[in-house]
Symmetry: C2
Subunit: 425 residues, 2 copies
């Protein structure tokens, strides 16, 4: 099928999806979860073929692990679909009511976005995850997964589509581009006639490619160079726990800590204890000259930071550490090297917390908290489709509501109304 035709069908289906009731959408989600369980052997066989092909093509173990499904992972995927069914429907709510001087009642109503395109790499769970979130939000989705997962995605989309069909919902609600030709990604990015939003899920290269080529609005994000600044009044023992959490708990995610900034007056007291804790957890420290001195004097392993260690997202157990003169220098460092994702100050001084929160221009700014909270589930959105580090539409974790837009409605919706509102000036 040509991409234009896929787009056209997605747009036509979007009108149909926008009309579905919450109950109809939840029933379809439940049907998808059941169908995934029923089709387990077929899905795992397709996935095994992807894994075998990936090994033959020399994929790294990490990549193989990302694309691999097993009974447990598939069960988790089905469970997540049921979880989406349990979330509140973001569509239909009205807000911003106002009555104009001439009596015309206006308000905004939350409505589906329409058609969402998602471009992602090797995790097949994204296929079902994104399809179920878009369905719940009343939008159709065009999926473009990585070529390493073609068979898995093919099987998953087939299962999803047949579950939709049993519920009387058009299978065009969830479409997938299966042709591996990369030119199709380019075409999808320019399909602004039919597609309302593109979400890339992958590394910096994918995001850049989308930005450079898309005429459809793109939600960029996922790149988090995250900072914690330890102020001179921070409780140092407590700080070690928060920093440990931000760096160690899950180092491969975008909200993990990358650079620690330490106020000069607390560096001697904080750094030896902190380094002992982090080194024991397997963290490699890359320190500026002053931090290096305190850590080395404590007899702990430490590397000298290079210029590249500032503003770098490590995605690994590596932490760059810099001693700063004061809050101002910390703010300047973050303004220069941050990516607008998540940054935190540890302090007991309200005035400093206020300034940090005011000045740091990131999607999420924390006081005395780990950067790891920037996550849809943690922040109570229930689920997340992406983490945005751009400023339009949505910032930070994007849940179901962020997959919607609104329309203005003007007029009474009552029986027997007469046409009577016009602009007078």
């Amino acid at each position: 099928m040509s991409l234009a035709l896929i787009g056209q069908r997605a747009k036509a289906a979007a009108r149909e999806l926008a009309r579905l009731s919450t109950a109809q959408k939840n029933e379809a989600l439940q049907a998808i979860a059941t169908a995934l369980r029923d089709a387990q052997s077929r899905i795992l066989a397709a996935n095994a073929a992807d894994v075998a092909a990936g090994r033959a093509a020399g994929l790294t173990d990490a990549l193989i692990d990302r694309l691999r499904l097993d009974e447990q992972r598939l069960a988790a995927i089905a469970h997540d679909v049921e979880h989406v069914a349990s979330l509140p429907d973001p569509v239909g709510g009205e807000f911003a009511h106002r009555t104009l001087p001439n009596g015309l009642q206006i308000r905004k109503r939350r409505v589906p976005l329409g058609v969402v395109g998602v471009i992602y790499e090797s995790r097949p769970n994204v296929t079902v995850d994104v399809a179920s979130l878009c369905l719940k939000a009343g939008s159709t989705v065009i999926l473009r997964g990585g070529k390493e997962t073609t068979r898995s995605n093919g099987a998953l989309v087939e299962v999803v589509q047949s579950a939709l069909a049993t519920c009387g919902i058009t299978t065009d609600a969830v479409q997938s581009i299966t042709d591996p030709d990369r030119a199709l990604v380019l075409e999808l990015l320019k399909l602004d006639r039919y597609v309302d939003m593109i979400i890339p899920r992958g590394g910096a290269g994918l995001h850049r490619f989308c930005l450079d080529n898309a005429t459809v609005p793109v939600i960029t994000g996922g790149i988090g160079v995250c900072h914690i600044f330890v102020d001179d009044t921070a409780d140092l023992a407590a700080s070690v726990d928060v920093i440990h959490n931000a760096k160690v708990q899950r180092p491969s995610v975008c909200n993990a800590l990358d650079t620690l900034l330490v106020h000069r007056t607390v560096a001697p007291a904080l750094l030896p204890n902190l380094a002992r804790d982090l080194v024991a957890a397997g963290v490699e420290l890359r320190a500026d000259e002053e931090a290096y001195r305190w850590i080395e004097q404590a007899g702990l392993p430490v590397h000298k930071a290079t210029q590249d260690d500032w503003g770098q997202e490590f995605m690994a157990l590596i932490l760059s550490v810099k001693v700063v003169d004061d809050l101002d220098q910390a703010l300047d460092h973050i303004a220069h090297y941050g990516t607008g994702h998540s940054d935190s100050i540890l302090t007991a001084t309200k005035a400093h917390a206020d300034r940090f929160v005011q000045d740091v221009d990131s999607a999420a700014v924390y006081v005395n908290a780990s950067t790891r909270f920037t996550d849809g589930a943690q922040l109570g959105l229930g689920a997340e489709v992406a983490v945005s580090t751009q400023k339009l539409h949505a910032r930070g974790p994007m849940g179901l509501e962020e997959l919607t837009t609104y329309k203005w409605i003007g007029g009474q919706l009552e029986e027997g109304e007469v046409a009577r509102y016009f602009v007078r000036d």
Copy 2:
């Protein structure tokens, strides 16, 4: 100055602007209004030179009128700046408060967007209009006006900047690209390192150029192919008034009516009276076969519509008219030919109003009202920087609040707080 340097300065200034209090911003706006009045002769002289050059270059009278300033228009511009000062400050409000199970308090705070780029054509009032709205919203702006207004814009920006300077605000808050080289527009569109949003103000060609080339998010809009559907239960006499208003009151704007869809059962009763009214107001009617028959039988002038008359924004006293079988056919016509701007149904049937409002995927949908309401001032936003017909970020009229974004804040901002929030799972 290179464009990269302009961008860098705009971004640095944005940090400063974000810190300004409401009082400081309003004082600066007042100073700008005063300075515009004080500099009247200088501004009008610069504008007169633009007008003379425009005439020599053979600009149409309509274009000359758009770029021309006089005492009255300049007074109106200064007055609009004072009006912006009187509007509520959109920055700083907090919402979506929540306390996580571990006690971490989170909420969203409304914050400035950062750096806004505006690309516009020949109206010099846009220069001051946009500068004052961005200033009030706490964002810096990079202006790129049309080459026909270089001198006027130069004088206006100079006046604005010196007013900012007297208030101790960086003049980088309002910068202008004066070099007429069109390559600079292209460069601005790709300046995503510094610019957060591009607003094009102009025709369809400018919007398409921005979409095709920008890596910065673009707010598209301004193209309105607007429809009114007259249902079989509409009050016909009242309908004539609303249709007249939508078409005649200001035909050159994007929310003016373009296509009228009439339910077959009311066409014979409505069309002769309506045509009489519109023809008397100078409207040219382009009707499909059936509508043509009713209008011609009434002895009124009417043209046969061609395929091009559907989905066309006339920006003039021209109306295309089509008879439809029912609501469904009207909805399909709007889905096919609409531009997602403003559409209205005239009906006394609640069920039809409900379906129309639900199904029509436009920024503004009306019941028994003129399409002309889609305007920041009409809808009570106080002012508008653009009318968006895309779905991300903002839809319809964009006022001050739509020039902002939000950040997530996590943590208590109190004296003596201790670092203590981390992710446990």
